[in-house]
């Protein structure tokens, strides 16, 4: 053997590694690209007011996408999140306006904090229903959550007969005021919803990396049988991810109702698709086992900034849909190319090591 082929191998490994690094950072690169593009193409894009407004839009999708990421990592899917957003918004609105009638001449009104807790509990409960259908009754996740999508939406419509609960200002004498804080309030100059996103995202990222539960989520998605034999409580892990997804959806329901100071039963329609798109864009593998919270958040920002930026440029909403679709497809194609390249680089390294 001469030196030349050996060198060529080394060269192609290092060039492969550079390409690989670029591909791994693709979502981040895409984020920088859209930011640069719109800051040039759209006037006022980089103004503080606009950035905060966009972040608020992105936050809604980011919450759902985080819940979706865990679900997808276990190899499942949650189509019901959009409907949970709608139903939870209605629950909150109903409680602010009507309280709970005890049927004995008394009506209990809760304060805003309690209402938020009850709403979150409702979201988690619906997630638990998803989880029970999937783990106990062996319904495929796609079907189970599709069914719950319809049931939850139907219940949301039934709760008000299809009408909107307006003016959720509450009454001071009942202690139900202050509902607008979640959607419109600010802390240290940033919207409350952004702070909540930061807290939940940090919590979720910590959970994924540093807790047994997080590790088990990945193990279940990577190889459910092996996980089961290793003593992982697979059903509990699945229950958790759907309940967490429901929890995230409930947060979104609360924030939207609070922003609008009204609850509309059709809120959240097709949100689940945006959430899936953000997760996939962020590198979550639909076949399970792979994904990160950070990637998903970046993915949500790419999608959110893309659509807001296009709106600001005056691009028609029809074209926006085409562009969003293309971005998702390109992301997955690059993802597959990265996998192939990665395995080739690994094989070459193994061959080199002998």
């Amino acid at each position: 053997m001469t030196d030349i082929p050996a060198k060529a191998v080394v060269n192609s490994i290092s060039s492969g590694s550079v390409l690989l690094t670029l591909m791994k950072a693709r979502t981040f690169i895409a984020l920088i690209a859209v930011l640069l593009f719109f800051s040039i193409a759209a006037p006022n894009f980089l103004s503080a007011a606009n950035l905060i407004l966009m972040s608020k839009h992105v936050a809604l999708n980011a919450f759902l996408a985080m819940g979706m990421t865990f679900v997808i990592i276990t190899g499942g899917i949650d189509l019901s999140v959009g409907s949970i957003v709608g139903l939870c918004g209605m629950v909150a609105g109903y409680l602010v306006l009507n309280g709970v009638d005890l049927q004995v001449g008394y009506t209990i009104y809760f304060n805003v904090f309690e209402i938020a807790l009850i709403t979150l509990a409702v979201g988690i409960l619906i997630g638990a229903v998803n989880g029970l259908l999937i783990t106990r009754l062996n319904v495929a996740p796609f079907i189970a959550t599709l069914g719950v999508l319809y049931v939850a939406r139907g219940l949301a419509l039934l709760s008000s007969d299809g009408r909107t609960f307006p003016n959720l200002i509450g009454k001071p004498e009942l202690g139900t005021t202050g509902f607008g804080f979640l959607g419109a309030g600010r802390l240290l100059g940033l919207p409350v919803s952004i702070w909540i996103l930061v807290v939940v995202a940090l919590g979720a990222a910590y959970l994924a990396r540093y807790t047994p539960l997080g590790r088990h989520v990945f193990a279940v998605g990577g190889n459910e049988r092996a996980a089961r034999i290793s003593g992982v409580r697979v059903n509990m892990v699945k229950m958790f991810v759907y309940m967490f997804s429901g929890f995230c959806a409930a947060i979104v329901g609360l924030i939207i109702s609070s922003e609008l100071m009204a609850s509309h039963p059709a809120t959240g329609e097709s949100f689940e698709l945006n959430a899936i798109a953000a997760a996939v864009l962020g590198g979550t593998s639909m076949s399970g086992g792979r994904g990160t919270i950070g990637g998903t958040i970046v993915g949500a920002f790419v999608i959110g900034i893309l659509s807001d930026g296009l709106v600001m440029m005056g691009v028609s909403s029809f074209w926006q849909m085409v562009i969003k679709g293309l971005v998702i497809i390109v992301a997955v194609v690059v993802d597959q190319a990265q996998r192939r390249l990665q395995s080739r680089v690994t094989l070459m390294q193994m061959a080199k090591a002998g």
Partner: protein, 514 residues
């Protein structure tokens, strides 16, 4: 060998190299027509590879294949089929969601003038083949609704329907009942009379001696013996298979097993299709003892382990650890009680292939490294490093994906994962399957060391050699039943083979009695 005029297929100096391992080394093999050409060898000896070369599934790296005296090369199994070579694969290659007839005629569908599949004709023809096998299988049944043995018969019917001149059967009886085996032998006799050359691979020596005309023995990819069946006996076959050069089994160190650490009482597992996969099995194990469980494929060894680990909710019986009854019925809590399983199928049940070596190692024992709910990274890393060193896992960086390791190192990761749970009783299902010689020696050494440290080890294998060399006692299973328990001193290969064939029909040769 004699009878050159009957030779239909000849392999000359054929070698097959996979990345890193040589599966077949310069093999010369002749197949005679109108005869049953038997091929035997231990697991991993290269039988299946050799057959895949003949069937066109694999291409030889070196050497020539002569069919009717002229050199041929098959680029696919379709090539081989058109030249009249059919194969019954060991792992069933059937589509469970299609009917029996559709399976038999897959890729050779009978169509009418409009290129529509002629279902009636297919079923009629399929019924003819099935009738010869007397299996009571209707051609319009779905394959997934059949018993595994019946599926094997469908596979055989499919191969017979090819009208092949050479028919390769790789362990065709592994899932058949005694009656079904008789029928198969009748079919083979018919085919033989029709001039078909049959290549027959099996582990069951008594079967081979009964049905074979010639025998070829493979060991480590090399052909070590060829003879007329009438000239040989079991001892000869075993000698050729094992050879004089003993494998690197770690030596027993003569420590004396302690108190009973594990007992299983009356374990039963019903089969979905009726009958019992594990049939009233009771056994006990002492601390520091290695109990080998020998049996053929489908004997119920893996199923027994599954029952012990609590993987089947509907299994019955009781297990005891250190004299205390284990009431927990789920895997998670049984692991906590001190049981650990190293499953047979590494890829499907042992590893999460997309996670790192480190994550796989600690997957079953994460709770050891947790404070409150936080995984202590330093403690975890230390345990990983220690395990990698102790088991001699060859890995540059434990954060590497486990799928990048060689088979032997992957197996060590599975073993490491089980050991990190701190088990009292280790269940090992075919721990040396599909790994190289060096890794095998490491695994065996580890087993010895663990038994010295006081673990009880139950290990299942279909490798006679292994079970004889490593076990303190040997239990034999057949057809879900425990058919014998032998002390090492009194165990002979013939006795084990005889016990492993019980319940599979008559044992024809007197010499095989214990």
């Amino acid at each position: 060998m004699t009878g050159d005029q009957d030779v239909i297929l000849k392999l000359e100096d054929v070698s097959k190299v996979y990345s890193g391992t040589v599966a077949v080394k310069r093999a010369n093999f002749e197949v005679r027509k109108g005869a049953v050409n038997v091929l035997v060898g231990e697991n991993g000896a290269g039988k299946s590879t050799l057959m895949k070369i003949i069937a066109g599934v694999e291409q030889p790296t070196l050497g020539r294949i002569l069919l009717d005296g002229e050199e041929v090369s098959f680029s696919s199994s379709g090539d081989a089929v058109t030249r009249g070579i059919g194969m019954v694969f060991q792992e069933l290659n059937l589509f469970g969601n299609l009917t029996v007839a559709e399976n038999i005629f897959a890729t050779r569908e009978i169509t009418n003038r409009f290129r529509k599949i002629d279902r009636k004709e297919q079923e009629r023809r399929a019924a003819e083949f099935l009738e010869r096998l007397e299996a009571g299988i209707r051609p319009d049944m779905l394959v997934e609704d059949l018993r595994i043995g019946q599926q094997q018969l469908v596979e055989i019917a499919k191969a017979v329907s090819l009208d092949a001149r050479i028919l390769i059967m790789d362990e065709p009886t592994s899932a058949l009942s005694a009656a079904e085996v008789e029928i198969l032998f009748k079919v083979i006799a018919d085919l033989k009379a029709g001039g078909v050359a049959i290549v027959y691979i099996s582990h069951r020596l008594e079967e081979l001696i009964r049905i074979g005309d010639t025998i070829t023995v493979l060991r480590d990819g090399r052909i070590t013996g060829q003879a007329e069946m009438k000239d040989v006996d079991t001892q000869w076959i075993v000698r050729q298979m094992i050879g004089s050069d003993a494998k690197d089994f770690a030596k027993a160190d003569g420590h004396v097993p302690g108190e009973e650490i594990f007992r299983a009482e009356d374990i039963c597992l019903p089969r979905v299709t009726g009958g019992l996969a594990v049939d009233h099995v009771s056994l006990s194990l002492r601390a520091g003892e290695i109990l080998g469980i020998y049996g053929l494929m489908g004997a119920g060894r893996s199923e027994l382990f599954d029952c012990i680990m609590g993987r089947h909710g509907h299994s019955t019986g009781a297990i005891f650890i250190a004299g205390k009854k284990v009431h927990e019925r789920d895997t998670t809590r049984r692991i906590r009680r001190g049981l650990a399983l190293i499953p047979e199928d590494r890829q499907r049940e042992g590893l999460v292939s997309i996670l790192s070596v480190a994550s796989n190692l600690t997957l079953a024992s994460l709770s050891r490294f947790v404070r409150l709910f936080h995984i202590r990274g330093a403690a975890e890393r230390q345990a990983v490093t220690q395990t990698v060193r102790e088991l001699a896992i060859k890995v540059a960086d434990p954060t590497q994906e486990v799928s990048s390791l060689s088979g032997g190192n992957q197996q060590k990761v599975v073993i490491g994962k089980a050991l990190l749970t701190g088990p009292k009783v280790l269940l090992m299902d075919e721990p040396s399957r599909g790994i190289d010689v060096g890794a095998k020696a490491d695994v065996f050494r580890t087993m010895r060391k663990l038994s010295r440290d006081g673990l009880g080890i139950l290990f299942a294998t279909s490798d006679l050699d292994e079970v004889m060399a490593l076990s303190d006692r040997i239990a034999v299973m057949s057809n879900g039943k425990l058919t014998g328990i032998f002390d090492r001193a009194e165990a002979t290969e013939a006795a084990l083979v005889a016990a492993s064939a019980l319940g599979h029909g008559p044992v024809p040769h007197g010499e095989q009695g214990a």
